[in-house]
Symmetry: C2
């Protein structure tokens, strides 16, 4: 144990010793701590440098240096002809009460989450190393607020191939996840005069909040078994609409060919913008995915996607493919928000697209998710035969329709008692009512877990 | 060369061949392309599947599958009793005109940029590998919008040690660079009723734009040789103020001890908030840095910093240390913006802090930047002896005051003619006038480049 020298006074006790850095720095730190935790009160005089130096057994110069630093920082004040004192207002910081932890359950059917345990860590690590080795130094500085050109170009190629999206890198804006992407396009629309924005009902409440936060009046349009009721858009006087054509969230319905046509006709005749949230379209199990709506009308449709369901939400990578006429205003809004998202991860993701790592990962995950979906369907048939699954062809969740008279919120509460979390579709409804159902995300549970969780649900009235 | 089969018709030419994926996918893609580039017009009938199959020499089933896909996607429409046609409104996407490149110069004294050629790529790569190996799978999912706990805790430790900041991880919010951090705290202040926000004049115009974008009325307060004129805050009825105490931007002045005290007294008596932009305080050459103002009044001061000048702007890592009473509203605003910044880079930066890599990097860079500052001072003395440098003790830039009567904007324009970019301080002024000067960022130029660039400036009137 190092020898310690202490200065004991009515007001003050400092500990300093060898191996803890320069003496004056140690003294400054110790004094700061003593001031902050209230051991020396505001306004109180501190010992003179001479007294303090003698007590600590150090040279007076060390104390003078420490006091000068604390005076410059404002902790101590000195006035001609009077003693150095503790400045007014130096006060300890209260600790914040710890936040109550979210109650954890054994089985969580939370929709919209991929199985992150399969995240390709080694491949990501290798790609990171490649990127760090090869990037130009200029790419480490401030860049284009729209994002790294490499990623914008790679996305145009990938989305063209996998989703039928028609874009140019100049009109792609990389964002921090879909959440920011939606906020950015909402603000761009607002800036160009859009005030009434339609959303699907049911839909994601967070998205309604993001749109409202951009100043937009959010109006709901019901969804039926063909998807969005396009005929209602005129009635609500919408100037833009957010849709999930490939797999409506949360109902799972695929927008029918007729409705796709009607939607684009509405957009064309009203000079309106369609925002296409293509959140899980890469996962389709029984047939090829329906291509993105955007490819049909790239001048009317904003395409939005993210890496959250393809790889991991923690990457916070999302993107907008906007009509060229919207590229400038959208880029400006993104620039005002944060000058652009992190470059390194963009370059790593571009590498993932270019080297086919993403395709490999998706092939692997599709097989896993299909098995889990099948396990969920089997378990429902066995344990909850009166529930009717829908929206099963794609994505990472399905909806289990409940028999007439059942209350989905009540059932969800009862399920919590058995340590199973399910998501009542009523929580996603905006203005309309509709049949009761449970949104069941199956991507994060193993087949065995799915089977046991559904068996537990049976016990409360499946 | 692979054998190609083509279908030639008045309207259509498709190329398909082996080795390009399943036939029906090839046909879909080729048809989509033909529709989009206008080779087949909207409303035109497409050949029947029978005719098309015969022409391409493939089975009719393949064509049926391809057409069905394009009907589901909305490219083609079919009505009972009539031929399949191209949907209305399928139109090619115009290329956007390329953006004019920023005119590049040989020597750029842009302030606020570190020398990214020294970015520790290997160390960052090693830290990334460590993080990817060790992180819990749950960290790849959605996380706390405030950021990874590991980074918040590491920052509290580092900022306490290096900057005298007093914080708790619960009240730290990680953002996408300082730009987003300022926008987030501005919105938090607005939500709690702040409407008039004071900034230093001169100061950064981008920051004024960010504050105004949050709905705040931005008022300027002049800076003199002791820093912010605190006595003016009352006159402008400010409810909050943004300051750069360690090295005022762009003047380089250090806020005096008296002004620090006055500023905190003003904040206390007006229940106001001080936002401290500590953008380059780690770089101080002639004495120890003055500790952050925040440590004196952690309940009144929001501390804001970023990795942009410490490591690289491309990381887009910034942070806010807010008073505990402000933690919740600030976290909510960050959550609404994007649900949180990218986790992996946060963890890598936390690793950098914990393993001392950042300290090592800063020690190396301080030496380099000090030499560059000295080279700039020598060159100014030699070539422009009538210019008066100030704000030289810290940071990555200084200000060269011009002799009376010289116009800084005019001089900057003339310098461009010699391929030297300098930054007139008048560009940073908001409402006040003041002496002419050039803001010279020296971090990104070598000593030899600095010397040559200043020699060129001499030629236009140094």
């Amino acid at each position: 144990v190092a020898e310690k020298r202490t200065s004991r006074q009515p007001e003050i006790l400092l500990e300093i010793g060898p191996g803890r850095g320069p003496l004056h720095v140690q003294i400054e730190r110790a004094l700061r701590d003593a001031l902050r935790d209230g051991r020396i009160a505001s306004g109180a005089a501190v010992p003179s440098t001479r007294v303090m130096a003698r007590q600590l057994g150090v040279s007076r110069g060390v104390l003078v240096e420490a006091y000068e630093q604390l005076i410059a920082e404002g902790y101590l004040v000195t006035r001609p002809g009077s003693r150095t004192r503790v400045a007014d207002g130096v006060r300890p910081l209260p600790r914040q009460a710890p936040v109550a932890a979210f109650p954890s359950v054994r089985f969580d059917f939370r929709p919209g989450l991929p199985d992150v345990t399969h995240f390709p860590r080694d491949a990501w690590s290798r790609a990171s190393r490649r990127v760090l080795r090869e990037l130009a130094a200029a790419q480490l500085s401030y860049g284009d607020a729209r994002g790294a050109f490499e990623l914008r170009a790679a996305l145009v190629e990938y989305l063209g191939r996998a989703r039928g999206v028609l874009g140019v890198p100049e009109a792609v804006v990389i964002c921090t996840g879909f959440a920011q992407a939606l906020g950015v396009i909402a603000r761009a629309l607002y800036r160009r005069g859009v005030r009434r924005f339609a959303v699907e009902d049911p839909g994601h409440p967070d998205q309604r909040r993001i749109l409202a936060g951009a100043g937009l009046a959010v109006v709901g349009v019901p969804v039926d078994d063909q998807g969005l009721r396009v005929d209602r858009l005129e009635r609500v006087a919408a100037q833009a609409v957010l849709v999930t054509p490939a797999h409506q969230f949360p109902s799972g319905i695929v927008l029918s060919a007729e409705r796709r046509r009607d939607l684009l006709a509405w957009a064309a005749s009203h000079a309106a913008i369609v925002v296409e949230d293509d959140y899980d379209a890469e996962y389709r199990y029984d047939r090829k995915p329906v291509g993105a709506l955007q490819g049909l009308a790239p001048e009317r449709v904003v395409y939005a996607g993210s890496a959250s369901k393809l790889l991991a939400p923690a990457l916070r990578l999302g993107w907008l493919v906007v009509p060229p006429a919207w590229a400038e205003v959208t880029a400006q809004i993104k620039k005002d928000a944060d000058l652009g998202s992190s470059t390194l991860e963009q370059l790593v993701y571009a590498d993932f697209l270019q080297t086919g790592e993403l395709d490999r990962h998706l092939r692997r995950m599709r097989t896993i998710y299909r098995s889990r979906r099948d396990a969920l369907l089997r378990a429902l048939t066995r344990h909850c035969p009166r529930w009717t699954p829908s929206g099963v062809a794609a994505g990472l969740h399905l909806v289990a329709g409940l028999p007439a008279g059942r209350d989905d919120a009540e059932l969800a509460r009862a399920a919590l008692g058995r340590s199973v979390r399910v998501y009542p579709i009523s929580d996603y409804r905006f203005k309309t009512r509709g049949p009761a159902g449970l949104v069941l995300g199956y991507a994060g549970l193993t087949e065995r877990e799915i089977s046991e969780a559904v068996a537990r649900l049976a016990g409360i009235g499946g």
